[in-house]
């Protein structure tokens, strides 16, 4: 244990927040250069692959933003960037689901890690929403058909007055602003929790108390 004793510095908000943060994840646990010896399986790389995939998705999306919403229809470079965006999304989801399978079979929620599991599933659901609004943003036949179908599902539960999938301007902004922010924040929380609690110990190592 190597955290410095908290310096409450006269009870300032700054010191209070600093203490709170360093208690949540001590600085040397944010980026440790050692890990438990039982972390020795290729299944463990799928979390970081998912994170890397997300960065490629956002990065290719950023490039698309330079050209605008309809750039990819008229520019071969734009079309290529769109393709990178599509395939990175497929890779992102594939790695995220394999990561989910691994964490399920490890029962990785054990040892106070329930919230880590919860943020992971919520990140998955938010990602599905982000992908969905992406498909609506293509401004082509796909967008027409998907919006026409999806409106029925969303209207059936009374949400259609506020979330109008037939409105590309609204869907574009959900796709490039609101949902990436949500996915990003949830992913950061998820990773912070992994750093806080450490990688879950193997099943069967539970201590039996008397």
């Amino acid at each position: 244990m190597s955290t410095a004793p908290p310096d409450t510095g006269g009870g300032t908000w700054t010191a209070g927040l600093r203490d709170r943060l360093s208690r949540t994840v001590p600085a040397d646990q944010l980026l440790p250069d050692r890990q438990p010896a039982y972390v020795a399986s290729w299944i463990y790389v799928f979390g970081v692959l998912t994170l890397a995939g997300l960065i490629v998705v956002v990065g290719s999306g950023l490039v698309l933003s330079f050209g605008g919403a309809i750039w990819w229809h008229t520019s071969s470079l734009g079309h290529f960037v769109n393709s990178v965006h599509l395939w990175s999304v497929e890779l992102f989801f594939a790695c995220m689901v394999i990561h989910l399978w691994g964490k399920f079979w490890m029962a990785a929620w054990r040892g106070h890690r329930g919230l880590t599991w919860v943020t992971g599933v919520v990140a998955f659901v938010a990602s599905i929403g982000a992908a969905f609004t992406g498909y609506l943003t293509q401004s082509n036949f796909d967008s027409q058909w998907i919006s026409g179908e999806a409106k029925d599902g969303i209207n059936s539960i009374g949400v259609g007055s506020w979330f109008n999938v037939l409105n590309p301007g609204q869907m574009l902004m959900w796709h490039i602003v609101l949902l990436p922010l949500a996915v990003g924040v949830i992913a950061v929380l998820h990773i912070l929790m992994v750093r806080r609690h450490g990688v879950v110990p193997p099943l069967g190592d539970e201590e039996v108390s008397s």
Partner: protein
Amino acid sequence: MTTTTTLRPGRRTPDSHGYPTRSYDLVKEFVLALGLMTALSLVLAGIFSSPDDPSITMSGWAKADPADVVATAAGELAGTTTSATYGAPYNHASEGQSVLGLQLQKWGGVGVPVDSADLVLQPLRGVTGDPRTSLALAAWDALPASAQTAAATAYADALAKAPDGDPAQVPAGRYGPLPAMTAAFLRLAQGGGLEGSLTSSGTFYGGDQTRSMLLLSDGAYLEDTAVADHLGGDQWGMMNEVGNYPGQPWMWLYTFWYQVKPFSTSENADAQVWMLMMGLTLALILLPWIPGLRSIPRWIPVHRLIWREHYRRQRT
């Protein structure tokens, strides 16, 4: 800091910080992962590209399936199309869907009001220099509402019975100005005058395709095109993409329910499937606290593969 917790009386997960460790370079791992995912994305994009089937324009629709445009226009004026009878959020024509007795669709309210007859009338009223259209509109406006509906319904029914829905083969009947109005609407569409008419007319910038999409969805051409691409609701369409491109495999369970009873024949399928999937999603989120489900990893020991080195070391 100890972070043990009690799973159930008598069992605690040990602190991961109490185990033997080894050196591991997390940042290098991340950089390698980023390089791999970037390379894979670039290679896949370079080889397979991405689909871009062009939108169906109003004029494209009118040229490919003129009978469908005429039938749709007649239906809008008769108040029989999907949008005209939809209910919330577009109008009050229907109670909409309900699930478990909850009238969620109706409770959402009419927040995106759309007059389906106006999808035809508004563009027609913008036409100038065409006496046939002006006269037909004047005749329509002179009719009382009940006569308007009767004429439009009669014409829509006659179109449905005509061979190939061809307006030219509709027998004589009491259709009022409907044949002239729908023919004018078709001319407008074929000439490109309908693009933007329902979205940016009077406002220049537009940006909301709601009215255009509702008109297009009221016809059969959009759905026929989608079904030909295997994107229909009862074709697992939610998972699919045009051509041989990968779609959304993660939507498999959502679309599965639409393929089986009772959902495949239910008028409330959308609301029911939504409620069911929200329930299953909640179960996945709360899995750590669901007895039985949370014990599956213990009963089916896939973990013995993952941690085999660790267990081997424990035995020696």
